[in-house]
Assembly symmetry: C2
Homo-oligomer: 452 residues x 2
């Protein structure tokens, strides 16, 4: 599970994440919660079991610890009933896979302090999740009530032989499910209402609510026969794929969908973008305090890992991704020089005028890489640089580039601000004695002369 | 609506689509259906209205025409009741936006011929949709029964003041909705069941079906007050965005999600990939029959449009996308020379050894572009070429490239197959009198000498 989570997370974001914690199995509950800031109870969905467990957690955890339950629908007022300090308890309900889906529902009980909910909201937000604080305590909270309603209907459809598990899944994922990835039912229906919005939709489709388009709340008797039938259909649907294969496919698709939405700055993509921005800002501050870089050597400012979607039909990293990682290294350099969002908005930024790429090897999926950047020459308007792309210690490709400083207002080349030009000048001077790289200053086509 | 559809579709796929049809408003029903192959009835959801309309359509449409209804849930047996030839009628229920979502539910009534359903299945499949044929006739079919169950519950949550429309939407789109974009409820729950799959899941979560996690089938009374409250919350949620803005955001997100899933070859992405493959194959056959290319001029084999997600923080097409479109033009060239899937699998393919890009201008979102490709030199192992990227007639960037022919088995450079080498030789000979482009044979860094 942790391997899958790490793998998925590596693909989700290249932002510098906080150092990973440690997984430890404790022999006793007291040992498990000693020194904890947060306890997340994820025991089976049995009220009595959880009540007893939470009472013990409460007795042993530090006074300052926040205690949360992952329950999918049990009421916090009942879960906290046996706790000595119920005020620091609430439900924080995440969704599978919890390492990717941003939603976490926060629901306090009658004994929960407002402070505890606020602490939880800040905490889950700080790790890139989307806390949804409930206004009222209710069985199943919000999300699971919606899921459960759909699930009851789905079970009836299988039970009555209207559709198989696979057909029901298709009815969701080829239709409304694609919308639900970023837009809920209400906003979707508002659009269906046209210019008159929700009011028109309710007038148009309200009457359909009187039609027998759903079964009762009732669910089919979960007899052995019925469960066998569902299991049989589900096996057929999985088509022999293993749990791990399916989990990875699910995670890969989730990552792809979230990255697609990040580019749209919408829904879960916006949450991800905001989180990454905070991580980068944090790393930047930490580096600023700690940085000890030898500027007389090519700078190593960018590293990463080849994502599977960067691979082409040859099984190697596709051509344009080389320029992407070289561009990322150029961004890392200008960021190092002091070009940030403010500077770009008010002063200027560096644009690439010319690039010469040489391919010396190939990269495959998941391979880690690192880039070094050598300054060949620079003045207040230009940076002539040379990137090397390494896989372990092997040189895989190089890019010689000419960057020009373009003024934001002018829209044409002009000198960089004095502090940036000065930092660049110092860097170029420090690296002036490095030798000219073999692949620098090349032109394409020498072979024509050699071959006549 | 058509503008939105065209815009979305242009972004969904670059594959050569069939020529667009014509929209015409007819004064009479007889005129509207005269000569039709397919009639799609999309009148309001009133059974009597649809029955009368379909009877008239049936009376005037050619005998060979297929007649379909877009109804979200009315029964085909009842809709076809007044038709003279009910056997050619069925429900084909698409989902909004119908120009993007692949799902179409097909449901025949008692009078429907099996042939009609099969014709409809083939037709909707041929335009890139995902037909789901129902096994039984049922109110609301499959998808809308599921949606309706969720929707009833959502209305109760608003009615009871548990959550706002915006919170309910968030509970979906930051959680289960992200999964539903590619994986339905049953497969998702199978994964939640761990190694023991669906059977374990049912044992673990089956008991929760006995908990009061949903309301009855009943819906709240749609009083004026309640509808006002929903409309008020929906307005707040939309935050002043216009219908068109919301529709475009929805379409952009859908396109991004579907393209993300295409890269994963999963769900709706697989449907899209299959459709594109058929379109490319068709265009290839048609071009093969019609192609008249003057090989003495630079070849114009690739054109496209700058997608908004190709834009960087400067508002211009991001650096790596230039190499992407140049790479696409190289692929178009080798495809023109005869390199196809078979050849790549058994013989070899062209790999880029070196690239020199010069930027002369910038491209913005939605701008159309075209590339020309000049052969500077070639032999049986190498292609030395020069791409020009044009926006209208302005030259925006150039790329000089050296491609090497790498054998699939050998994994190293070897001569191309004789027919491909011969086609390349003829092309190089025909273009040998074209002048050397200004940007060819350049090396970076001349300014250093000039500036001392």
């Amino acid at each position: 599970m942790l391997d899958n989570a790490t793998r998925a997370y590596d693909r989700l974001t290249l932002a510098p994440r906080p150092r990973q914690g440690e997984l430890r199995f404790a022999a006793t509950l007291a040992d498990a919660v000693a020194g904890a800031d947060l306890v997340q109870e994820s025991a089976p969905e049995r009220e009595g079991l959880k009540q007893d467990l939470l009472r013990e957690v409460d007795a042993h955890a530090p006074e300052s610890a926040l205690i949360c339950s992952s329950t999918s629908g049990l009421l916090p007022t009942r879960l906290q009933a046996k706790m000595g300090r119920p005020e620091r308890f609430l439900v924080s309900h995440p969704f599978n896979p919890v390492y990717l889906l941003p939603l976490v529902e926060l629901c306090g009980g009658e004994g929960t302090a407002q402070d505890a909910i606020e602490s939880a909201r800040l905490f889950y937000g700080s790790i890139g999740m989307m806390p949804l604080v409930l206004r009222k305590e209710i069985d199943g909270f919000i999300a699971d009530r919606l899921l459960e309603a759909l699930w009851r209907e789905a079970l009836w459809l299988v039970h009555d032989g209207v559709a198989t598990t696979s057909e029901i899944d298709d009815a969701v994922r080829f239709g409304a499910g694609l919308r639900w990835a970023f837009m809920g039912t209400f906003l979707t229906y508002r659009l269906a209402g046209g210019e008159d919005g929700m009011r028109h939709f309710m007038a148009q489709f309200g009457p359909a609510l009187k039609l027998p388009w759903t079964k009762l709340m009732d669910v089919p008797q979960l007899s052995e026969t019925f469960i066998d039938e569902i299991a049989r259909q589900s096996d057929a649907q999985a088509g022999g794929a293993s749990l791990q294969e399916l989990e990875r496919k699910r995670d890969d698709c989730l990552v792809a969908v979230m990255q697609a939405l990040r580019a749209q700055e919408f829904g879960a993509g916006r949450t991800l973008a905001d989180y990454e921005e905070r991580l980068y800002a944090l790393a930047h501050r930490q580096e600023g305090a700690q940085r000890k870089i030898d500027i007389a050597l090519p700078l190593r400012l960018h590293r990463g890992q080849v994502l599977p979607e960067w691979i082409d039909y040859n099984g190697h990293m596709t051509e344009s991704r080389y320029l992407q990682v070289f561009g990322d290294a150029s961004d890392a350099l200008t960021s190092y020089l002091g070009v940030d969002l403010n500077y770009r908005a008010s002063e200027g930024s560096y644009h690439t005028a010319e690039t010469h790429i040489c391919h010396l090897g190939a990269m495959q999926a998941h391979e880690p890489f690192e880039l070094s950047t050598q300054i060949l020459a620079a003045d207040e308007k230009r940076i002539h640089l040379f990137h090397r792309l390494f896989r372990s210690d092997a040189l895989v490709a190089t890019a010689e580039q000419m960057l020009l400083h373009v003024g934001t207002k002018e829209g044409r080349v002009r000198p960089a601000r004095a502090d940036i030009a000065e930092r660049l000048r110092a860097l170029a001077a420090a690296q002036s004695s490095l030798g000219k790289p073999d692949q620098a200053g090349r032109k394409i086509g020498g072979w024509q002369k050699r071959s006549g």
